[in-house]
Symmetry: C2
Subunit: 258 residues, 2 copies
């Protein structure tokens, strides 16, 4: 690996001197946790139709076709060091691009960098930053999303909304501002929100951006979902006691002993 | 970059499928923030004499020879994606190995992995985990260290001591459990302790290990040191209010508005 070598870098006496920013050979690394090859082929085909070519994009699959080799928290850590793109996209294998493509995503991310140079993560659906609260004992749902899924077709009014949680169907991480996932959480849910909160503690920000796609997922809440949510709430209640979060899968308060 | 490709990985239709753990071509990436080339040449020479060969180790310098291109928080982030080693060593350019070398470090890290599979960082000097406290209004100094420096020659009695801060002169990070540094802290101090606390929040642990070396540094506390310390204390008081930390540069309590 390591072909990020900047033109200014030199090797001398077996030592590599690195100077300047990284020089990425690609714009995007599109990474997916792939359980179903046919779904992933549909994803790749839709990206290719929408301007993500071999010249600007690589596709990398965390291979779960023959069993649950990786969980949600593991696969992004496993794939990040393999990525050569300036931006790393993490997405479900069952998304499909429709009309928004390469040019629009690059334009959105360029504009986001101008708006907030500290951004680290950007997705198409999530909860607004520090906007959720308890009303009559129930958490509010300040969602922002641009997605077509089994619940309907949603477009947010704004182009950029600061977020504190992101849905895992599609999100982008800057290669130069990598954010890890928790080693002490497991499962297939909340790992993007975990990265949002870790990114926030690192001093970075997350956004929902107006970038539309179709998500074919069934979004059924399983026993594993509730177990993962309980883990997540217990962990983050330590650092943000009393904070109310609104992941698009449902809002909750961070309290110990819930 | 990206030559971590596991033997089991296959490319099909322009897509890379990744399975299994990473297969590192090297054991160590020795990374240093290099201001002085002669000091760094001494470092590299001492590593080579102690068993770190071209077959098992690469040396990478963040080039600060011609000015402060990178600060402490930036350079580890910049170099990590360039590293091909299973373990990434971050160290000052003014350390020198004496008798402890490759075999001992590998043995120490193997033993540490057996002792605590959740370890993420290991160094030769730091503060013991959750051991510092206020006594008569003053923070205690539960240090653990194995180093020879201008203050003397120190060897700890234990082989492994769980830590919550590490000195920047020398520390190791697992490639497969990377920990980022804060985007909102700057300067040349406390970035290893920042990684320890971020690693702790991620669910990993840090250790001081008995691995001896010489640190030629002057360790003079500058105005920048106190500025960096104030930033660090203010930030972490948010997440660990009232906690007492004992970096080997001096202990302090994490309190807001200090």
């Amino acid at each position: 690996m390591v072909d990020l070598a900047h033109a200014a870098n030199v090797e001398r006496g077996g030592v590599r001197y690195i100077s300047g920013p990284p020089d990425y050979p690609l714009t995007f690394s599109v990474c997916s946790l792939v359980a179903d090859e046919a779904r992933f082929d549909r994803l790749v085909g839709s990206f290719r139709k929408c301007g993500f070519t071999a010249a600007n994009t690589e596709f990398i699959a965390a291979d779960n076709r023959y069993g649950n080799t990786y969980d949600g928290y593991e696969w992004t850590r496993r794939l990040y060091p393999e990525c050569r793109g300036q931006y790393v996209i993490f997405c479900h294998d069952d998304i499909e691009l429709l009309e928004d493509g390469y040019d629009k995503l690059v334009a959105r991310l360029d504009a986001l960098t101008l708006l907030d140079p500290a951004w680290v993560l950007a997705g198409n659906a999530g909860g607004r930053f520090r906007a959720a609260k308890m009303v009559d004992g129930k958490p509010t749902r300040p969602y922002a999303m641009t997605v077509t899924d089994k619940f309907g077709s949603f477009r947010m009014k704004e182009t950029f909304v600061r977020a504190e949680s992101l849905d895992e169907n599609f999100f982008v991480m800057r290669h130069d501002r990598f954010v890890g996932t928790s080693f002490d959480l497991t499962g297939y849910h909340f790992y993007a929100s975990d990265m949002c909160l870790m990114g926030e503690m690192l001093g970075g920000s997350a956004y929902v951006i107006d970038f539309h796609l179709r998500h074919h997922g069934q979004a059924a809440a399983s026993r594993a979902f509730y177990k993962g949510r309980a883990q997540f709430r217990e962990k983050y209640a330590r650092y943000f006691p009393g904070r109310v979060l609104a992941p698009v899968t449902g809002p909750f308060e961070l309290n110990a002993g819930q």
